[in-house]
């Protein structure tokens, strides 16, 4: 027990000098450090580097020079940038609202009991994880104004022909159609989870109080799934605002610049015009906007919480 005694005196003398007592709680930093290193290298470093590039005039193949905020000033006066901002906004709002509405509807249906429910739900969910580029290419074929199957189907019911992604005024709604097709299942699954967590009693009591189906939905279901709708809204907003694959593969921002979102403009600036400095400034602004958006959404979410949600 000699060693114990030594430890004992060492510890005591340590305390007498007024130093902090030895940490007993397990040290968790070793668990975090590898990830910290990787994240610094692949995430934080690019952030910082982008910031640095944005203060330079830097076009591939040409000399680079420090220009301070000039890229940002140029951005403020760039009509195409503001236009792309507007497209991003429109695209985001539409591709949040439509899936949210349809997804809720689908969840209400799939929450009920009917034959083959599990199988049908499985089919419904398929688009969600399909490779966006692959999907987009097939949609492009379907949207073809003369040869596409969609116009044919519409012609059967006497509508059309529409020009879909080939017309400046219909391109964004058409892209949103694809986005909706792909992401409605996600909303459906989230809301379905919400519906499953709703207690039965309020419905029984509402039944006794004489509520009809709509009233039950409006005054019970809707408020109770609100937090889940909020989750869906947040995820959808963040994904929609940075949507790239679908737009790039289908229209590359066209016709004209009618579907050019910030992300696409950013891509074109950096990789088609090689104007990396300017593209970086755009990336920085875009980044700030996304972060701001998500914080706003998170704040709103905390307000809509009717209870601390079940952890899982």
């Amino acid at each position: 027990m000699a060693s114990v005694g030594m430890e004992n005196t060492a510890a005591r003398s340590g305390r007498e000098k007024g130093s902090k007592p030895v940490r007993l709680a397990p040290n968790y930093w070793p668990f975090v450090i590898p990830a910290l290193v990787v994240i610094s290298a692949v995430i934080v470093f690019p952030w910082v580097f982008t910031l640095w590039m944005s203060a330079h005039r830097w076009t591939l193949g040409q000399e680079q020079s420090f220009i301070g905020f000039d890229n940002y000033i140029r951005l403020a006066g760039d009509a195409r940038f503001w236009e792309s901002l507007w497209h991003t906004l429109l695209y985001t709002v539409l591709s949040v609202v439509a899936p949210l509405f349809l997804g809720t509807l689908a969840a209400l249906v799939f929450d009920a009991q009917f034959p083959l429910r599990g199988f049908l739900r499985g089919v419904f969910v398929m688009p969600m994880m399909a490779t966006p580029v692959a999907i987009a290419l097939v949609w492009t074929m379907m949207f073809h104004p003369q040869l596409g199957v969609l116009n044919y189907l519409l012609s059967l019911v006497g509508i059309g022909p529409l020009e879909w992604i080939y017309n400046q005024s219909t391109v964004i709604p058409s892209l949103v159609l694809v986005e909706t097709w792909q992401w409605t299942p996600l909303v459906m699954l989230i809301v379905l989870g919400g519906l499953a967590s709703i207690p039965r009693e309020p419905y029984e009591s509402a039944e006794i109080d004489g509520a009809n189906a709509w009233q039950k939905f409006r005054y019970l279901t809707l408020p109770m799934i609100a937090p889940f709708l909020m989750i869906a809204l947040i995820i959808r907003s963040i994904d929609a605002v940075k949507s790239f694959d679908i737009i790039y593969a289908m229209t590359q921002g066209g016709p004209g610049t009618a579907s050019e979102t910030i992300n696409i403009y950013l891509y074109n600036t950096s990789f088609a015009y090689y104007d990396i400095g300017y593209g970086s400034a755009m990336a920085v602004i875009f980044f700030i906007a996304i972060v701001a958006l998500s914080f706003v959404l998170l704040m709103v979410r905390q307000r809509t919480n009717w209870s601390e949600m079940e952890e899982r």
Partner: protein, 443 residues
């Protein structure tokens, strides 16, 4: 700076054609005894190509080159847009992953020169141990040499294939309406409008409407009005009277006679539409004959005429584009790379290109070779159109660095015109938008 290159090339082109008339006799064998093809046997070359029927022809016969030289070639072909992006990023980083690069002159020439990315190969060309005696600068169409030489006159690439824009026309539809192939712009428009009948889903004209892709359509039309996007004084002439006239013509064709949705059409959509037999005329590059004559893909096999661009009010001109192969300055295998370029533009490979309809070589000796011409699998009319276009060839895009921005800026305007916007206003707007970009690029 740029205008010297933009001067009409017709004269030089014609001169080249006649001067080299006899060189076809020099034989088809690329393996001239003088060249030491095996000099770099064992080397591995990385070659970066634009995906196209041209590069596919190269890749198809790559085995022959490897056998000939003992050089191992890793050739990659990526779609044009991606290839351009990737190549520039790699080159500008100073350590490209390839030794030989395929470039589109009409888009990248200036940029490559400014970046000093390509090696000077004029020395190689004079070295008989590296170069076949048949390969002389004079054999190339004038446009090709203008493309290949930099501003100081140094040769930095070998012209590979030229692209003239022609009119593909559906003879059946023309006959049905009792129409002839148009001789002038005016006739072209009238024919297009007459052919158009939305009730049967038939349209008289199709061309690229998609932003960026559509700009060459307009600049090609502009040539017919005797104008170019950048005037002889080096200033932007994109809102000149001629430019506006060309844009009006574009607008008229694309709104009155083109299928719905054309503002989203690139060559692919236009081609799909034309192949279905419901389009009277299709205006695009010369390389689309193979799919048209392929019964697996086309409903118009044997029904298509190939026409030289009709005459405009001031001139008859065929918009000309081209690509070349260069050796990368940063490469450590420049000679091996040069051997590859030389093989790629050799008489034999050029003949294969032409015979398959995959592209048109810049070398006049190939075009003039009767034997080669006999082997062409495409209709004779196509070859006639090629040769005819060669005679009125003019560069259709300005030789500047920001070609992509140029095409984007004016492309948006043109797309807007299909949507009904006023050509003059759109061009003015685009010019104002593009002017500072151009200024910045050369600044």
């Amino acid at each position: 700076m740029t205008h010297s290159l933009l001067k009409p090339t017709r004269r030089g082109f014609l001169a080249g054609t006649t001067a080299i008339g006899g060189s076809a006799l020099l034989g088809i064998r690329p393996a001239s005894a003088a060249i030491n093809w095996k000099k770099h046997a064992g080397t591995t070359l990385e070659v970066n190509l634009v995906k196209s029927p041209r590069s596919e022809t190269l890749i198809k016969y790559l085995g022959e080159f490897q056998e000939l030289t003992g050089i191992k070639v890793n050739a990659e072909a990526t779609p044009e847009q991606q290839q351009r992006q990737k190549v520039v990023i790699e080159l500008s980083s100073g350590k490209p992953s390839f030794d030989v690069v395929h470039l589109s002159y009409h888009v990248q020439k200036r940029q490559f020169e400014k970046g000093k990315w390509l090696a000077d190969i004029s020395g190689f060309l004079k070295d008989p141990s590296l170069t076949d005696p048949s390969l002389v600068e004079a054999d190339f169409a004038d446009a090709g040499m203008q493309f290949a030489r930099d501003a100081d006159g140094v040769l930095r690439s070998l012209p590979f294939s030229v692209d003239y824009w022609i009119i593909y026309w559906n003879k059946e539809l023309f006959e049905a309406k009792g129409l002839k192939y148009p001789e002038t712009f005016e006739e072209m428009v009238t024919a297009a409008e007459k052919l158009t009948d939305p009730s049967t889903n038939t349209y008289g004209f199709v061309a690229r409407g998609l932003k960026n892709a559509n700009t060459p359509v307009w600049t090609s039309l502009m040539l017919g009005y005797g104008a170019k996007p950048i005037g002889a004084d080096g200033k932007l002439a994109t809102d000149s009277k001629e430019a506006v006239e060309a844009a009006k013509l574009y607008q008229r064709l694309m709104t009155k006679a083109a299928p719905p949705g054309v503002s989203g059409f690139n060559w692919a959509e236009a081609q799909s539409a034309f192949l279905q037999g419901k389009i009277g005329m299709w205006f695009d590059g010369v390389g689309f004959a193979p799919p048209i004559e392929n019964p697996e893909k086309s409903r118009v096999v044997g029904k298509v005429g190939y026409g030289v661009m009709p005459k405009g009010p001031s001139a008859q001109a065929s918009g000309t584009f081209g690509d070349g192969l260069g050796v990368v300055e940063a490469s450590t295998k420049k000679e091996a790379g040069y051997l590859f370029c030389q093989w790629a533009i050799s008489h034999e490979m050029g003949a294969r290109l032409l015979q398959a309809g995959a592209g048109v070589p810049f070398r006049q000796s190939i075009l003039e070779d009767r034997k080669v011409r006999e082997g062409v699998k495409m209709p004779a009319a196509w070859l006639d159109a090629v040769v005819g276009s060669g005679k009125i060839s003019q560069l259709a895009l300005p030789v500047i660095i920001p070609v992509t921005e140029f095409r984007d800026s004016f492309g948006v305007g043109l797309t807007n015109m299909i949507g009904g916007a006023d050509p003059a206003t759109e061009l003015k707007k685009a010019t104002e938008q593009f002017a500072p970009v151009l200024a910045r690029s050369e600044g």
